[in-house]
Symmetry: C2
Subunit: 222 residues, 2 copies
């Protein structure tokens, strides 16, 4: 069964939104917002994906990926993240530049290619944004990291990834010289607006709004 580029993008979107929702199905309007298509177009596609047994879909009830759909989502995700690693490690792109290109490359269809690429890159476990890369069987370690705004007290953390991949956010992190693996210390917490004062790698102090810290994944240093 052939799966089109557009279908792959819908499946990827359902996968992403599903992982945020825990239990509930993904709604038409969630998808409409995320894909920037009109709700009517989404309904259209959901019917087609349902016919192909890639999703479970009941009118008005939201949608879930089937096992088949899940598999495809993970394959696309795997390809996307491997290509991101390639673009950064081998072609020396900056981390805010890789997403759009990987968005195109993730649709290249060749099992052999993915397998060889993976080996060539040394079977990386995470991509340049800290997102885990599914292996050939679609398995990956769930992130143990939480976003920085979960912690409302002083403490030391390791920066492990981001939950927001926009150019502007990633460029901001580069501009304050924050890279994956760096140490972040919370030095002050402002209870009123959730903003925090942090020190990165024992260097200059820096202020994060709650919006920023909600997109920074960290693990506690014990």
């Amino acid at each position: 069964m052939e799966i089109s580029l557009v279908e792959e993008n819908y499946i990827k979107a359902i996968y992403k939104l599903q992982s945020l929702k825990e239990g509930e199905g993904v709604s038409t309007s969630d998808l409409s917002r995320h894909l920037k298509n009109k709700a009517a177009s989404v309904t259209d596609m959901l019917k087609r994906l349902s016919l192909k047994k890639l999703i479970q879909y009941q009118k008005y009830q939201g949608v879930f990926l089937s096992a088949k759909g899940q598999k495809i989502a993970l394959e696309v995700l795997r390809k996307h993240r491997l290509w991101e690693v390639f673009l950064m490690e081998k072609l020396h792109f900056k981390w805010d530049e890789v997403h759009d290109i990987a968005e195109q490359m993730e649709h290249i269809k060749s099992e052999e290619l993915v397998q060889r690429l993976d080996a060539y890159l040394g079977h990386p476990k995470v991509d340049p944004h800290g997102d885990p890369i599914p292996n050939a069987k679609g398995l990956f370690q769930a992130l143990k990291s939480k976003t920085l705004n979960h912690y409302s007290h002083k403490g030391k953390f390791i920066f492990t990834g981001v939950t927001e991949h926009s150019k502007s956010f990633l460029q901001y992190l580069s501009s304050i010289n924050l890279k994956i693996g760096h140490q972040i210390c919370i030095e002050e917490v402002n209870a009123f607006d959730g903003s925090i004062k942090v020190r990165i790698n024992k260097q200059q102090p820096c202020f994060f709004s709650e919006k920023v810290s909600a997109n920074i994944l960290v693990e506690v240093i014990k």
Copy 2:
């Protein structure tokens, strides 16, 4: 102006067929044969490409690439051949395996990507089949090589490329251990059917039908 994947493939096909015809325009039926689409579909597309000024097209008169069209053809060709080099040099694909994958990768749109890939590969001048790679400005050395069947006498040659990219042909060449750069000596010519007896790298002798030698590019060793 956006150019679709399908449009790119038409332009590539026109470019290829044009280079075989020297002067004449490319006919609808040539394209139909080459792209495996019906003639009516081709006419359809030619009208659209003409509206976009990518080709010069007059009803019943065949078609030529415009300067814009030529530029696109060379960009796509450049990408195709660079990706072929990548697949062979870095991912160690065999030369009969790279074409289909490169066919997909040539449509990835990112100037920056192509430029970096080119640098990463060391600005290669030819792809794994001996085809010249256009540079960023679309320039490349024309092949000086001729196909082996042009020579109807004994002589020494260097194997520089192929004019046929099918899996079966390339696999045949691999099976007789013929690789680009190898020496080919014509030892006997059969005037009746154009077949020849050759010796590759001073090793085992071997017979080529005219069909084979018509697809093998060589340069004379002086």
